[in-house]
């Protein structure tokens, strides 16, 4: 039963993610985890402010159901299937500690320096989390998809636009970690 508690290796996780995409295709849906943000905006009445949210969002309620499932899945996995620590490359862990005083690698699932409740007493932490989310939400809609919609679904369907988007994801991610992190943290 150890395999349940150990982290799942990439060659298990990758095929299972492909399986999620095929299961959704078989029930007539396309794998993409950011559309639900638009559905949620539309559901709370954003259609009154912008035409982008004036559409038949009720036909997209399925993606909110997938979200509910993902929340449940996270609960089950963290409570019954994990010791909630993540081991990363020791060199990267050392660099995190030396450059940004983030020392929780290997001891927690997310860096406690950013995600622990106590960290929220720093206004800068709230700002970082909010801006991070804002960029994700804005970028995903501008690019018409996120990691699942472009890097998995779109590229599987050999879509050139998805390749452009994924190249953009990595340019943005590398710029953030290598250029902006030293300024932010």
């Amino acid at each position: 039963m150890n395999w349940i508690y150990e982290p799942w290796p990439w060659y298990v996780a990758g095929p299972l993610i492909a399986l999620v995409m095929f299961l959704l295709l078989l029930v007539g849906k396309q794998f993409g985890m950011s559309s639900n943000l638009r559905t949620a905006c539309a559901a709370v009445g954003a259609g009154k402010a912008a035409d982008f949210f004036k559409y038949d969002w009720k036909s997209e309620r399925w993606n909110l159901t997938v979200v509910l499932g993902a929340i449940l899945g996270g609960f089950i996995a963290s409570n019954y299937m994990s010791d909630n620590t993540v081991e990363i490359n020791p060199e990267v862990a050392q660099q995190l500690a030396a450059d940004y005083q983030i020392t929780s690698a290997g001891n927690s699932y997310l860096p406690t320096e950013i995600f622990a409740i106590e960290a929220l007493s720093e206004p800068s932490t709230i700002f970082i989390l909010f801006i991070g989310g804002l960029l994700v939400g804005f970028g995903a809609r501008y690019a018409g998809g996120c990691t699942s919609g472009h890097a998995i679904s779109g590229l599987s369907n050999l879509q050139v636009p998805s390749l452009i988007a994924v190249i953009g994801f990595f340019i943005g991610g590398l710029a953030m970690v290598h250029l902006f992190y030293p300024l932010i943290f």
Binding site: L68, G74, A77, V92, F130
Partner: protein, 137 residues
């Protein structure tokens, strides 16, 4: 029944995201530092199987079980929106250490701070909808 299926797929997805550590900030940071093959292996192996499977679906003309059309829509042609939108997304992905799927998984895993990220993502989505007509597409 239909919604129970979506829910079950979501639960399965959530467990895979958490257990593969793709929902961990540390793994995202490590990926952008090229510190491990892990994340590249996850995305790469999902993609190889995805490409093969989509080809099988197209050649065998496999249809969804409810008789609807297969949701394999081509993306509309453009460069600028995918490139600029992609870069903005990537900046946020690396800053928050979470993309839209894992955000929800982390709510279930008991990290209340992630709700700030989700709130930001909703505001970002709304902002895009509000200024869409002024953006190059």
């Amino acid at each position: 029944m239909r919604y129970l299926t979506y829910l079950a797929i979501g639960v399965f997805f959530g467990i895979v995201m958490f257990k593969s550590e793709a929902a961990s900030w540390f793994r995202i940071y490590e990926m952008f530092q090229f510190g491990s093959f892990h994340m590249y292996g996850i995305i790469g192996s999902a993609l190889v199987l995805g490409i093969i499977g989509v080809q099988v679906i197209k050649r065998k003309k496999i249809q969804p079980i409810d008789g609807s059309a297969m949701s394999l829509h081509p993306k509309e042609n453009s460069i600028i929106r995918y490139f600029i939108g992609g870069i903005i997304f990537g900046l946020g992905w690396a800053l928050s250490g979470a993309c839209p799927g894992p955000m929800y998984v982390l709510v279930g895993a008991g990290f209340p701070s992630i709700l700030i990220v989700i709130f930001g993502a909703l505001v970002g989505t709304f902002l895009y909808g509000a200024i869409k007509k002024y953006l190059p597409h």
